[in-house]
Symmetry: C2
Subunit: 226 residues, 2 copies
DNA sequence: TGGATTATCGTCAGAATGACGAGAAAAAAG
DNA sequence: CTTTTTTCTCGTCATTCTGACGATAATCCA
């Protein structure tokens, strides 16, 4: 039996919140095809490597991060026959949610790497589509899971958590109602006993991520469909 | 530049509700590897074929169905290096939700095809895992989307819709509260004006699927985490 | 004709939500 | 040092949503 031959890559939608805005990690391509254009970071899956392992490896290469911080999950696969001029390439996209980090270093095959606010970006390949799918996944996951904390450092205030929601959803939330909701949903956050110091305003209690996997009840956006 | 070579397959988790139970479409393998064992239907992606097109083609081959009935979406990709003894094979799994259909015919490479109630199945390859992921996706999608109607014929009663929820979730729902919820959630179902005839009990009004993409508010399971 | 069965509507208490007032605790300004 | 500003935290209240369940309607079946 014979069957067609493919190359398999992983591409990463790495999101973070900087200055109250949702940002994505992009690299400027240093090789053909699409040389010089901006694209999602990624690369080929190695001969003896699992897909998840390839995604973790690429994430570590691009961000220097390889601890358990943040969140990484598979987003979906994209395999249109003409999506890569080099031939038949299927890419498995992953979504990563990370706390704010220093500007990353450009990896091999990349001329530059940068955090970029989301918007109309004109990326290489089908990466605009993949990015849009990743953003929608992140918006939706914030409703039903405690993953907003993946955007925060290990200890964070309720206000910081709320600003994550506001940045990802592009929607303002009432601080008082959000505070009630975050602290009363079981397993969302747990108090550390510490507080902020030196910031303007009343000091805020610091929390860490709770052990819930799903938020019950969820925190719903006002208009999931627009 | 050189990079590893892969084969790419699509595998289908085809679910339906039969006799109040959630069933999955399985095929008995007619070729090596795993000859004679039960597995999810699937096959290789063709040389000039998109992933979604391959999934649609396989679904049509296995069920004879190719209209817009039911629902088909990508579930996820699985690519552990040792998941197929023939070599490096990445499979893109799809989830299909269909109304109850006659028993399907076995396709090529399959000795038999059958609807099977879900449970501990011992499938070939990593298909137990893929099936479990598909079932969990279906359970979750019923909470937030109107996709339960994909399990029903074009016109259906509220009771039939409720029985879909009960079969997929394995949980009984109060008929009166479910009726209120289904008919009051905007875009979930719309009345056709017809009613059932010849069934025991009071005739039930028939509905068709509404135009909503998301249920707002959602219909939540009692214990999403177990 | 009467009972069984299922659909549909209604009621009521408790939970969750949205809108907003008000006090607490700090830094910043005068 | 006092006042103002800022932000956090708690509380109130009306509205909506949910779960539990009673009651009636409309058919089939014996």
């Amino acid at each position: 039996m014979s069957y067609p031959v493919f190359a398999v890559t992983v591409d990463l939608v790495v999101l973070t919140v900087r200055d109250g805005e949702l940002n994505v990690l992009l690299v400027q391509r240093g090789i053909e095809p699409h040389l010089g254009r901006w694209a999602l970071p990624g690369g080929f899956v190695l001969a003896d490597e699992d897909l998840d392992a390839a995604a973790k490896r690429e994430l570590a290469e691009e961000t220097g991060l390889d601890g358990p911080a943040g969140h990484l999950e598979q987003l979906g696969s994209y395999g249109a026959p003409d999506r890569d001029p080099r031939g038949r390439v299927v890419t498995v996209a992953y979504l990563a949610l990370l706390p704010d980090l220093p500007t990353p270093t450009a990896g091999t095959d990349a001329a530059a790497a940068a955090w970029t606010p989301i918007g109309k970006l004109g990326l290489a390949f089908d990466h605009d589509r993949i990015l849009a799918d990743g953003i929608e996944r992140a918006r939706s996951k914030l409703e039903y899971t405690p993953l907003a904390a993946a955007f925060c450092p290990p200890e964070f205030t309720i206000a910081a958590l709320r600003q994550v929601y506001e940045a990802v959803w592009g929607e303002e939330l009432d601080p008082r109602n959000f505070h009630r909701k975050a602290t009363s949903t079981p397993g969302f956050v747990e108090s550390t006993g510490h507080s902020t110091e030196g910031e303007p305003g009343r000091p805020a209690r610091l929390y860490r991520r709770g052990d819930a996997v799903l938020l019950n009840p969820p925190i719903l956006r006002r208009k999931p469909n627009g």
